[in-house]
């Protein structure tokens, strides 16, 4: 693939720590790509590298087939993990200023800032200082700053962290909307349910290298069959642990998720469950993103 963002063979070492190890993946336009990995996997280093904020020991980053340079980066939008705003600057001024730094005229920057602040529900705070806003609203200002210049690519490091459900819905809707307009969206998150809901594509890295990449559908339907079983009176799924070829994947609120090895007959599992108590739920399931993640970084 030459279109969109292509990261190829990225390498970066901090002393003895290898942060990126020949990392290669791409982010297509028009798609929301979830960027997952355990803490210290190299997600933030990768995102910083896209914007030239960290030096690379090797590898290339291209956008539409051309190496990413300063003029291209001005057409990208970035939201860092540790929020980057002037605490004492007014909300409207801040968004407008960042729009102008990305090449907008004064008038366009003002209009666009106003539009995004309205879209994100904080237009009434335009004259307030950023430090006077709640965490969630600061997050919205940060997103407005990343979007004000209508970027071709959005790179967001943990944009959903610390948000309430309404905030997650609002910001998630904006990300999907951006992708629908043909823009590339890459965001990292530890909230795997949200990733599953928002993303078409997922990239999982661990120890600085790619471990899983694919669409949400591909990843959910791949792998061995799995069952969701609920047995009356059972809370921990201990009955399944003794079954041969069956692995307990998750136990949550009495719901037990089981992974079956090839050749294991699901009716044998049903019989074992029925032996413990009345079976209230028994169904074949797709993999959850949390399972994809755990199995990838195990």
């Amino acid at each position: 693939m030459t279109g969109g963002l292509v990261l190829s063979g990225l390498r970066r070492r901090f002393g003895d720590l290898v942060a990126l190890r020949d990392l290669t993946f791409d982010v297509a336009g028009g798609v929301v790509t979830g960027f997952l990995g355990p803490n210290g996997a190299g997600k933030t280093t990768t995102m910083r590298a896209i914007f030239g904020l960290t030096d690379l020991d090797g590898g290339t980053i291209t956008w539409d087939g051309r190496p990413v340079d300063e003029s291209m980066r001005r057409r990208f939008g970035y939201m860092p993990e540790e929020r980057g705003l002037y605490p004492t600057m007014r909300v409207g001024d801040q968004v407008e200023y960042l729009g102008r730094l990305h090449g907008l005229s004064a008038l366009d920057a003002r209009r666009s800032a106003q539009r995004w602040l309205e879209r994100l529900g904080i237009a009434d705070r335009v004259a307030d200082r950023v430090e006077d806003l709640s965490h969630g609203n600061q997050q919205r200002v940060q997103l407005a700053s990343a979007l004000v210049h209508e970027p071709e690519l959005l790179v967001l490091d943990e944009p959903l962290a610390g948000l309430d459900p309404t905030g997650i819905d609002d910001i998630g809707a904006v990300l999907v909307e951006q992708a629908r307009h043909g823009r590339g969206v890459l965001f990292s998150s530890h909230q795997l349910d949200q990733v599953e809901d928002l993303c078409e594509q997922v990239v999982i890295i661990d120890h600085g290298q790619l471990v899983v990449r694919g669409t949400v559908d591909e990843l959910a339907s791949a792998g061995p069959p799995r069952l969701r079983v609920r047995v009356e009176g059972d809370r921990d799924g201990s009955w399944a642990e003794s079954l041969s070829g069956v692995t307990v994947s998750e136990v949550r609120g009495g719901e037990v998720r089981l992974v079956l090895d090839p050749g294991v007959d699901s009716s044998a599992v049903l019989a074992a469950a029925a032996h413990v108590g009345r079976v209230t739920e028994f169904s074949l399931q797709r993999r959850r993103m949390s399972e994809v993640f755990r199995e990838a970084v195990r």
Binding site: F51, D57, E70, Y78, M79, P80, M89, L101, A146
Partner: protein
Amino acid sequence: MTRALAIRLVIAALVLVAVIRRAWRRRQRAGQRVSTRANQRVSSRADRSVVLLVAAREIRQRLRGRVLKVSTLVIMLAVVAVIVLPTIHSHTSSRVRLAVVTGAPASVDALAARTATALGLRLRVSSVPSSSAGRAALTANRVDLVVTDHSNVVVARAPSPTDTSPSAQFVRDLANELGTARAVAAAGLSPAQADALAHAAPVTITALSGSSRRHLVDPTSIIGIILTFVLLSQYDQWILTGVMEEKSSRVIEVLLAAVKPLQLIAGKVLGIGAVALAQGTLIVTTALVAASAVGSPILHGTAPWVLASSLLWLVLGYVFYSWVFAAAGSMAERMDQAQSLVFPLTVPLIAAYVYALSTASSGSASLLFKILAYFPPTALFAMPTLVGLHAVGVGGFVASVVIDLVGTYLIARVAAAVYRRAILRTGGRVRWRDLTRPR
């Protein structure tokens, strides 16, 4: 067609193709050069535009804050006070009230008038009937001194030998004049002889070597030095905290995702520099207006030049030190870290400030001080002081400015490199050895 002709035609065709191809390539290369130059021009314009945007933000932020308004007001009031108060004091003490006891020689009035004129004092003479009446007027503070006759001047309090005020000088000079008049009268000189004696001119002084060129204390230089130090400290603190704020709030990552580090730091230096120039100009203008209104001596002689050169060197010094402080700010995340980094860098600044104050007060510049006027970290205090002491010519002044500009260019390059490597390093103070490693 002969074979030879055919060969010639083929060769001619090949040559023609080669010539056309070469011309085509030249044209393409020329087009590329034009395109590259055009791109460079566009890029350069965009760079300048970003620097101006950053500068404009700095200016807006400073103008909105209270610090600038309050500090400008306080400094302007202080400057006005320093200029106006001495003149008020001199106006109140420029009058002397003399009481002459009836019966004293008539020449007392003339002697007193001549002495007062020589000292620039306004004299008011009154007459009292007796010595005791004169003493009573003195006690009631209706007069400053009483002359009873040629042999006695009475004052409320004896002037100190170290008191150089005009009124104290008047008492001493008048006593001398009266003593001389009494001696002349006792010697029985004719009026012409007495007049010749009274108007005796001093003999010519012939020196074997030139004067020591020691000048009086120059108050304008001292005001300029103190103002430069106060303002420069304020501006450099703005640079330091501004860079640190961007680093500690992580806004730097968002900024550097869109602009180059050099654009950011240059915009900051330019913006705060513009505020500095405006504030400095406002203060100097206030000083000149206040001095003009009250007839202050700071407008006399070289004082306007000292003020102008102080303003120029404030700007030059700011530009030089702003890069140093920006680099220090980029290496720290907390104020205590920044202060420990900045302290060794400000030693020449503080040393030059103290040395300049001492030199301006003493009225003469040492050779070392003159050398320091050509050293960029210290020139901002040394050169205006030399201007006040008439110890530098136009050539020396210009040379110092040129050396400072070259020094600023070099320090800016080093500071920009430090800034670029340090600003994105978080998690504590950046150490010098970290700057050699990749970001």
